[in-house]
């Protein structure tokens, strides 16, 4: 044969010889794109401070990710954009009036302690953004609990411009719901709340984008939202019809942000298909429990953090059914085992 060709060194590898274009970086990029509508609504309603908070959060998250890995002599990982997502998600859970330095403390805890010290992407057992938020909530309760009124409500009678009451405080409080909180204003996001959580519409656009691009599956968001809807519909409250109560519950607080963007975090949610359904239902149930009985008005972040801790156990419980083995086969096998044990016991007697 041709001599020139013989000198070409050929690679060998087991199959497959081709790979999808959708790598970790592209998945993270899609999450960032999906969050942009919510960021837009925040700027529209709260001005430029949310942008300052987001920038500080994202930059500090990326810096900490780079620095800790450099310090521990590990490979650079900021190219996968997961730190950007963590920073962005943390910022979206903060009040629009938060000072610029607040998220830096949160990202330090989230990225360094929760994510990198446990081995980096895919190894952490808590959602780093939510862990960061929980850390801030425990340390700066005053700053974290003060929500300014959005632009749409400026000048409305009974609204405190610096610390407006969110719809949730009326749903589970003793005062009746004021007239300016309607399903429509809450859906569009003309209400006080955290930077990224106010507009259900913007979050749904992002969520549908994530579903369409197969970044997330429907299982967690649907079971999460479905459980909240079902439980609030059954138990009701807030001095209104149960159906209204359910709608307000779905539209308020960080529920939609949590269901589509936080609970679906890869590393901290189950990977088994049935496990995801149970996990989502668990998130929903704990959210409702905290909303009804908890000390905090909002329970989404703690609900997700608690279920994060169960993710591995859930996966173990939902080992998949083997291909080619019908349910009758498994039943027959189990019965045979039982009979064997019984026989062994009797023989021992």
């Amino acid at each position: 044969m041709n001599d020139k060709k013989e000198r070409i060194i050929l690679d060998v590898a087991y199959q497959p010889q081709v790979r999808t274009n959708v790598d970790t970086r592209r998945l993270m990029l899609r999450v960032i794109i999906a969050l942009l509508p919510a960021v837009g609504v925040a700027v529209w309603q709260f001005g430029l401070n949310p942008l300052v908070v987001i920038a500080s959060s994202v930059l500090s998250a990326v810096f900490f990710e780079w620095a800790i890995r450099k310090f521990r002599k590990q490979s650079a990982s900021i190219g996968d954009l997961s730190a950007v997502v963590t920073g962005l998600l943390l910022a979206l859970t903060l009040p629009p009036s938060a000072p610029w330095w607040l998220p830096i403390i949160g990202t330090f805890f989230g990225i360094v302690v929760v994510k990198q010290l446990y081995g980096g992407i895919g190894k952490n057992f808590l959602n780093p953004a939510l862990a960061g938020r929980a850390f801030l909530l425990a340390s700066y309760a005053m700053l974290m609990g003060r929500y300014p009124a959005p632009a749409a409500l400026s000048g409305v009678e009974g609204i405190d411009a610096i610390s407006a009451a969110t719809p949730l405080s009326f749903l589970y409080g003793s005062d009746p719901m004021p007239a300016y909180y309607t399903a429509k204003t809450m859906f569009l996001g003309l209400i006080p709340g955290a930077i990224g959580e106010i507009s259900t519409l913007a979050l749904l656009i992002g969520g549908v984008y994530l579903l369409a691009t197969q970044v997330i599956s429907w299982r967690i968001p649907v079971s999460f939202l479905g459980t909240v809807a079902l439980l609030t519909l059954i138990f009701g409250g807030g001095g209104m019809s149960n159906a209204d109560f359910m709608v307000y519950n779905l539209l308020s607080g960080g529920l939609v942000l949590g269901a589509f963007f936080m609970a679906t975090d890869y590393a901290t949610s189950p990977v088994t298909l049935k496990g995801q359904l149970l996990y989502g239902a668990g998130c929903g149930a704990i959210t409702v429990l905290i909303r009804y009985f908890g000390g905090y008005p909002e329970g989404v972040s703690y609900a997700i953090l608690l279920m994060n801790l169960c993710a591995w156990a859930i996966d173990k419980a939902f080992h998949r059914h083997q291909f080619g083995v019908s349910k009758e086969d498994t039943k027959a096998e189990k019965e045979a085992q039982k009979a064997e044990k019984k026989a062994a016991k009797e023989a021992a007697k």
Binding site: M1, N2, K5, E6, I8, L10, D11, V12, A13, Y14, Q15, P16, Q17, V18, R19, T20, N21, V22, D23, T24, R26, L27, S75, S77, D80, S82, G120, I121, G122, S217, Y266, A267, P270, V271, T272, L273, Q276, D315, H319, R320, H321, Q322, F323, G324, V325, S326
Partner: protein
């Protein structure tokens, strides 16, 4: 309604059935390896210096699981020696210098009477060296005879779900009637009344063409299938067409099904109606190292280097030679290795196709789980693999993996999942073989 299975991926298909079949000029020297099937290797029937004719049997083994090999050109045997084999290693091969005359020596075509006799058809299939030409290369006669009495569903595999490959599609378009006759013969040999021909709907033109030829006359029903890899996997075909799931570690015949590939049925047609043994097939030659894709009618024994030259030569330096499709295809190690009966494609890949990363990282997204057609959980299997916990690997059914590559393909962290499972399986097989040998040795000692 289109039929399908659970899981699977949608790779970048890059299929070019619009490129007509070109005949690749037979090379000046063909290399015919004595192993082109699963089973006992053939023994050469010719010696250095012998003159052979095209279609002459040059190697065989009387063992039941084997398939004879035939000269793909006429000429002089210049060597009978180990040569590089496409599946690696060097294997005893017959090297024939092509005299360019293609003097044929085929078998007599079968009479219509003979073609009604299952035993006669099976004998002809055996003599013609027909093997599973989808790539598995299992001797077809043995597969069919092993299923007689057990099999009530004969499935013809027309999925061609691997990217790049066009051979089956072009066979359907160019020889539809011959193909249906070939399927009819396989059906008669299998002693069943009906054959189900599963074709992915990205070959709608072929489905329409075959349907217009009244397949029911031949006892064939066309089953349109969803376009999804690995639809052409044997177990996936059985699941899609019959709804039955092949038992773990079992064969499709265990649930009354047998799967035969499109090109194999065409080879059966050629063997029975024309007396031609398997000496050529359509090979899709493609990849970014080449200027363009070629669907070449290629003689068995054509070396890859020569094949690339015939297809316009390289525009970039190839890094890999992939045999078959890119999802399940394995890498050849030499440009001198030849095409064999199971070579459906030869892909010359460069860095362009290679998505290598230095540090594969699992992000626990679970995408490997949702795509696994065998309902496995690759993310955990890989974890146990790296831990060396082989007990748990077995518990997670690693032996069910048929290495379709879907999990690795879909992994955003680029984890070498299929690689790990293949390695683990080889280890389990080696262990089982060792234990068997030990047990046999103990038995001998007792005697």
């Amino acid at each position: 309604m289109t039929h399908t299975f659970h899981g699977g991926v949608h790779p970048d298909y890059r299929k070019r059935p619009d490129i007509p079949v070109t005949v690749i000029a037979p090379p000046p020297q063909v290399v015919i390896p004595m192993i082109q099937h699963i089973g006992a290797p053939c023994k050469p029937l010719v010696q250095k210096g012998d003159l052979v004719k095209m279609g002459q049997k040059i190697g065989e083994n009387p063992a039941p699981v084997s398939a004879p090999v035939h000269a793909s050109v006429s000429g002089k045997v210049v060597a009978v020696e180990p040569r590089p084999h496409p599946l690696g290693d060097t294997i005893m091969s017959v090297v024939i210098e092509n005299d360019g005359l293609d003097t044929p020596e085929f078998m007599e075509p079968m009479t219509p009477e003979q073609m009604k006799n299952p035993d006669a058809i099976l004998e002809r299939i055996r003599q013609a060296g027909v093997v599973g030409m989808g790539g598995a290369m299992f001797p077809t006669a043995f597969k069919i005879s092993g299923g007689i009495g057990k099999v009530d569903r004969l499935i013809i595999n027309g999925a061609e779900c691997e990217p790049y490959l066009n051979g089956d599609h072009l066979t359907m378009l160019n020889y539809p009637e011959q193909l249906l006759k070939g399927i009819e013969l396989v059906r008669i040999a299998s002693c069943v009344d009906k054959a189900y021909y599963g074709i992915e709907v990205n070959k709608q033109d072929a489905i329409d063409l075959l349907n217009s030829l009244h397949p029911e006359k031949y006892g064939i029903e066309i089953v349109p299938e969803k376009v999804k890899y690995p639809q052409g996997g044997e177990k996936m075909q059985v699941k899609a067409v019959t709804g039955r799931e092949v038992k773990p570690g079992g064969l499709p015949s265990g649930v009354g099904a047998n799967v035969v590939s499109t090109r194999t049925c065409y080879a059966v047609y050629q063997a029975c109606y024309e007396g031609r043994p398997v000496i050529e097939r359509i090979v899709t030659v493609s990849g970014s190292a080449l200027k363009e894709t070629v669907n070449g009618l290629t003689r068995v024994g054509t070396p890859f280097g020569y094949l690339a030259e015939q297809c316009g030569g390289f525009v970039k330096t190839p890094r890999k030679i992939v045999l078959g499709g890119p999802m399940m295809g394995i890498c050849a190690t030499s440009f001198d290795a030849p095409t064999i009966k199971g070579t459906s494609g030869v892909l010359f890949f460069t860095e362009e196709e290679d998505k290598h990363v230095d540090e594969p990282t699992c992000i626990r997204c679970g995408k490997c789980i949702s795509v696994c057609p065998m309902k496995l959980e690759p993310v955990f299997m890989y974890m146990y693999y790296t831990k060396g916990d082989y007990e748990m690997l077995e518990k997670y059914h690693v032996m069910d993996c048929f290495e379709c590559g879907s999990c690795s393909y879909n992994c955003p962290g680029r984890m070498p999942l299929t690689h790990a499972f293949k390695t683990a399986k080889l280890m389990f097989q080696a262990k089982a073989a060792k234990e068997k040998a030990k047990a046999e040795a103990a038995k001998e000692a007792k005697k």
